[in-house]
């Protein structure tokens, strides 16, 4: 798959980004552009900084140095401007993080009503449409704890989409799921990618990376080591670290 033709500016731009956790240097000079409509999969061993990279894009992790822009706008400091920008950036977490005291439908409607000031009936109608799209409209009135992991994650994707985000961030969306539930979530994500959503996906799902990604970014020790097309990355990785990583995960 080739990246679609794009107009400036890139949807996500990271320039010279550094981040430390105490003495640990978790992001080292990260430079990354994600174009509008592009699907970028971030791979790498655990502890390589890929989750931190994903979370820094909507400032759930503040960075120490460098610059991050969303659709040409620099990421603001804390406050209302940051909240407004976050509303345009959808995020899906490893642990789903659905609001435990709200039903599935309420989870999806809440932010459109409270943040976007959409009327409750309109928000509800849109929520039901999204829940149908991810295949769980029959679960709308249940609480998150009553759903399977795969259903919860699909609800979380619907919740993020309800804000009509410009870009979606996925932080290991299938890592907490039982194996038989991984596919249903990946199917939703693949459909989303086909529709032209700009996506940055941190994952261990190589099949998804091959099928849906325009680009694969490989991280190790806080650095971006490779940034290439999926075919090239999987068949002819350039760096030793990528070869080593692929050797470990593709042999079994």
């Amino acid at each position: 798959m080739s990246a679609p033709a794009t107009a400036d500016p890139p949807m996500i731009r990271m320039v010279g980004v550094h981040k430390h956790f105490g003495s640990l240097h978790v992001l080292r000079d990260i430079n990354l552009d994600v174009a509008r409509g592009e699907v970028v999969v971030v791979l790498g061993p655990s502890g390589s900084g890929k989750s931190t990279l994903c979370r820094s894009i909507n400032r759930l992790e503040p960075i120490d140095e460098g610059r991050i822009e969303i659709d040409g706008t620099p990421l603001p400091e804390e406050g209302r401007a940051l909240a407004r920008l976050r509303a345009d950036v959808g995020m899906v977490f490893q642990q789903f993080n659905l609001f435990a005291h709200k039903t599935i439908a309420e989870n999806v409607e809440l932010a459109p009503v409270r943040v976007r000031r959409i009327s409750r009936p309109d928000a509800h109608a849109a929520a039901m449409q999204l829940l149908t799209r991810v295949g769980i409209s029959d679960q709308a009135d249940k609480y998150p704890a009553q759903l399977s992991g795969g259903q919860q994650q699909r609800a979380a994707i619907a919740r993020a989409l309800a804000m009509r985000p410009k870009v979606m961030l996925f932080d290991e969306p299938t890592s907490a799921l039982d194996p038989e539930m991984v596919q249903e979530v990946l199917d939703v994500m693949t459909a989303l990618a086909r529709e032209g959503m700009t996506m940055l996906v941190v994952t261990h799902e190589m099949g998804f990376a091959r099928r849906a990604a325009h680009r694969v970014v490989f991280m190790s020790d806080g650095e971006i080591v490779e940034d290439s097309a999926p075919d090239q990355f999987f068949t002819a990785p350039r760096s030793e670290r990528a070869k080593d990583f692929l050797g470990k995960i593709l042999t079994h």
């Binding site: 909240a83 976050r86 977490f93 435990a100 932010a111």
Partner: protein
């Protein structure tokens, strides 16, 4: 025994009515102020955090009688708004209890998974929206038992107002002794009165716990 209660029913009725009024007003004040203080203590603004922490440190570590002394004797000298003893008693109780409410609410907030904060922030909720819509409604569920204890203490603490010319249940005993009535029996009825007042508190706790254990 009953005769004492009937003979002095004016005392008992006025006393306990004032106790209930003190409790309800100070309780509401403490819940509102305490929740605000808890919000300050978990807020991202360092100045607010400092203010909240300072308040709790001062009021939690000051004996309640001292707070009452302040409102009874020092407050008039500040020459602010002149208010009745009763209002000052409400203020003293509310401000003192708010420190405890704050800590109970804050511990409740700490039981809410950090992922709930993150999901809320990631959707574009402001800090105050995150607290009021997502975090506090979940925190409240885990604070019902300790909050009931705090309100229980408040109910009993209202008797201190007796020492500062507010006619409430704690004033009944001295008033009875002036009338020459047997004190032990008087105290017995006061204990019964407080026992009855605690019942709705405990019942509310039970009801809330039951309701929230189902809807989750």
């Amino acid at each position: 025994m009953i005769q004492l209660l009937l003979d002095n029913r004016d005392l008992f009725i006025t006393g306990f009515l004032h106790t209930i009024l003190l409790f309800v007003l100070a309780g509401l004040g403490a819940l509102v102020l305490g929740t605000l203080l808890a919000a300050m203590r978990v807020s991202p603004v360092p100045a607010l955090r400092l203010l909240g922490t300072g308040y709790v440190t001062i009021f939690r570590n000051t004996p309640l009688t001292l707070v009452f002394f302040f409102f009874a004797f020092a407050y008039p000298r500040l020459e602010l708004v002149d208010v009745s003893f009763f209002t000052r008693a409400v203020l003293a109780l509310a401000m003192y209890t708010a420190a405890f409410v704050c800590e109970v609410v804050r511990s409740g907030i700490n039981t809410v998974d950090v992922g709930q904060f993150e999901a809320s922030r990631a959707l574009g909720f402001t800090f105050s929206q995150t607290l009021t819509t997502i975090v506090v409604p979940q925190a409240i569920r885990s604070v019902v038992p300790p909050m009931t204890s705090v309100l229980n203490s408040l109910l009993k603490n209202t008797t201190i107002a007796a020492g500062f010319s507010v006619l409430e249940a704690g004033q009944i005993t001295p008033a009875l002794s002036e009338r020459g009535a047997p004190l032990l029996i008087g105290m017995f009825w006061i204990a019964v009165g407080f026992g009855i007042l605690v019942v709705p508190l405990t019942a509310t706790q039970r009801a809330l716990e039951k309701r929230w254990s189902v809807a989750r």
